[in-house]
Symmetry: C2
Subunit: 424 residues, 2 copies
């Protein structure tokens, strides 16, 4: 195996013919394999089945004197405030507990900015001439889609090893039509990058021209190490407050990848002033989210230490899947020098940069072979990767043997696409 | 006891002094009683505690082959579609199952009309010059608040014994800025009126000028009889379809008053074309609502017949509370001819019309005596009852003995306010 760039045309054709035969044999198996979404697998779901036994005794319905089954308590249950404040290292008064989806809370934040304005908005965003939003990329397609659907112009911010390129961020926030930024600060989706202390400091100290600029801090993987111990992470709320930016930041988290993806609990952490303002709008929308499920989670997760114990069990299940991905890429692709990839220690993704111009082709070859991957380009605003290079691998869902087969196919397809690109 | 209108001034003063003494004695007890919200009481919550035992075995997580714990299934679980389609007498394909709040689904419908437009909108509502919404009144304050918060001009539609005054509705929908109407068609909030077949027919046959006019059909009390047997109710979706208005109607329901107020399941029923359109927007907002709770409800409620059996048990608990309210009013107020009230056989409210000009005063007197009632005027747009007459009594939450005390106080206050109004 030598780098593909060093092959002669004849060697490339020979190699391609051999790969093609393997690819055809793979296709003939008619497999259906999925590495598309950061979806926990059955082994992970089995780790939390005890959560269903917890709400059976009448005393479990009462939390701090309130019956969780009835109406009321817009901000959620105090027991959940305490739990998530400890996990996020902020204050219980800064926590709003929602339903089963942090995406919904984020969408609703943007939607309320659009319809009513955020706390410091001069006017609702729908009354602005122009709306722009910063999108560190590669990033999370569902984030980008929210602001795209509200008509924001999406501005790509390059990612560095330390997080979003802060020089570019600081330049763009001088534009008052720039209303916010999507961030996944710990184990970023898809690169698995932990924002550096300096990046975080510069975020907290931003001086945006828009008084209602929203630093959306989607701390989706706050406790989601799969290798090594829990990595403490600065509390963005207090850092922003120290910089006079208390109302700039909205932090989100959820238990979707702690307990259950379809039935977890989502959280918004923000300044008390922001929560007061938002609750004045949310109170028109809902009486409260499902407090029974909040109580179920408070009883099951107990506190941060107990939550981290559970995350160690998730790590054991997920870690071996990431090892399959990385070992296969190291063995099959590294010597060919046709792609690079990150080596995350937490989160749910491996971000792979294929030879420029080959991501879409690789995706198509895989699709034809029965292997589903997140669409090529999905990690960029408008689904358009200018280099046609980035592919997001989500190894959590398939059983290990299926994942190995899918990765074998992926390596075949990366190689074929690279050879095609080099010329046959 | 003779009608207050026939009392001389001297008799009124005598009567008032006697009532005042009783009122002072009541106040001195320092009670805290609440008849403000249609909130189920503890006896009702105890009827459904079996719902928590249902998700303990692994086979319960799988519904029609899908693991309810994981991501996916934006429209909700098929088992829940079937259950609610049977209850609402529509088709499973017309059902979207949400979270724990139908209010949230209604808010989100209006919000999406505002930000993106509904299926047949020429443009998003935020781009319209003027927005108006029809509000049958007395009606539900939380409905009115939603459209008020989006800047709609609220137009009061008088209520008749047969539902909203359809002559007025038909007149207003000729105005293209009128984008919708709030309806609670069965056991209306607060009057407890069941819309007549003729009213329903005329709704289905409306010819609104706005192509995106929304008939919001909040069937909150679809199976909520507390006296007599279940009353079958026409399916508004098929009636609208038959009139060529398939996309005009959005029906809502929830199990908040079937299982649990804080942890039930909410439903939107609409044409398949409307659901396809809405799901294209909702899919940006959330991956799915909590399917575990949907499955829990499908297992617990089973089908319509089984749900109606449960409703009979609720009826036994609630019916005795309504009897307290009506017996007390009949005994204490009827002979005085200072108020009228409805005699509902379902729903959660008694709607009382006090002597014009006395509702606010009655509310204040009660408040000072420690009895909380929904604010006077709340049942009208902008919280302003032009006659200052309507009061909404919600008898479900207090224990029967407390309810009796609260009603005694209410009668005292109604009488005092009436005497003040007649002149002392």
């Amino acid at each position: 195996m030598k780098p593909y760039a060093k092959l002669t045309k004849e060697e490339r054709n020979e190699e391609y013919a051999a790969l093609r035969a393997q690819y055809d044999a793979f296709c003939a198996k008619g497999l259906k394999l999925n590495m598309a979404r950061g979806k926990p697998g059955d082994e992970q779901l089995a780790l939390v089945s005890g959560i269903f036994d917890l709400m059976i005794r009448p005393e479990n319905y009462i939390s701090d004197g309130t019956d969780v089954r009835n109406y009321g308590e817009l901000r959620g249950m105090p027991a959940a405030h305490r739990l998530f404040a400890e996990i996020l290292d902020c204050k219980p008064e800064q926590i709003f507990v929602g339903g089963n989806s942090s995406l919904q809370l984020m969408y609703d934040l943007v939607s309320k900015g659009y319809t009513h304005g955020l706390k410091n908005s001069p006017r609702p965003w729908c009354r602005e001439e122009k709306l722009r939003w910063l999108c560190p990329a590669p990033g999370y397609d569902r984030h980008f889609k929210i602001t795209e659907s509200f008509g924001f112009e999406l501005i790509t911010i390059p990612m560095t090893e330390d997080g979003p390129d802060m020089d570019t961020v600081e330049k763009y926030v001088k534009d008052p039509s720039v209303k916010g930024i999507w961030c996944v600060p710990k184990y970023s989706n898809p690169d698995g990058i932990i924002y550096s202390d300096e990046t975080i400091r510069r975020f907290a100290a931003l001086r945006p021209a828009a008084p209602d600029f929203a630093l959306v801090w989607d701390n989706a993987y706050a406790v989601h190490e799969f290798e090594g111990d829990y990595v403490p992470f600065p509390d963005i709320l207090s850092l922003c407050e120290a910089e006079g930016n208390a109302d700039m930041v909205y932090e989100f988290a959820s238990t979707s990848k702690i307990t259950m993806p379809g039935g977890g609990v989502a959280v918004l952490a923000a300044s008390e002033a922001n929560l007061d303002y938002l609750c004045s709008l949310i109170g028109v929308q809902i009486i409260s989210y499902d407090k029974i499920n909040q109580q179920r989670h408070a009883l099951f997760l107990k506190d941060k230490a107990h939550t981290l114990e559970l995350m160690k069990k998730h790590a054991a299940v997920i870690g071996k899947r990431f090892k399959v991905v990385l070992d296969t890429l190291d063995r099959e692709i590294a010597p060919l020098e046709i792609a690079t990839w990150n080596r995350p220690t937490g989160g749910y993704f491996v971000s792979l940069f294929a030879m420029p111009g080959t991501a879409k082709r690789t995706h198509q070859l895989l699709k034809d072979a029965g292997v589903t991957l997140t669409g090529a380009g999905a990690t960029y605003p408008y689904g358009k990767d200018p280099a046609d290079s980035n592919l997001r691998i989500a190894p959590s869902y398939p059983p290990v043997d299926e994942l190995q087969q899918a990765m074998n196919a992926m390596c075949l397809c990366l190689r074929m696409a690279a050879l095609e690109q080099l010329g046959l």
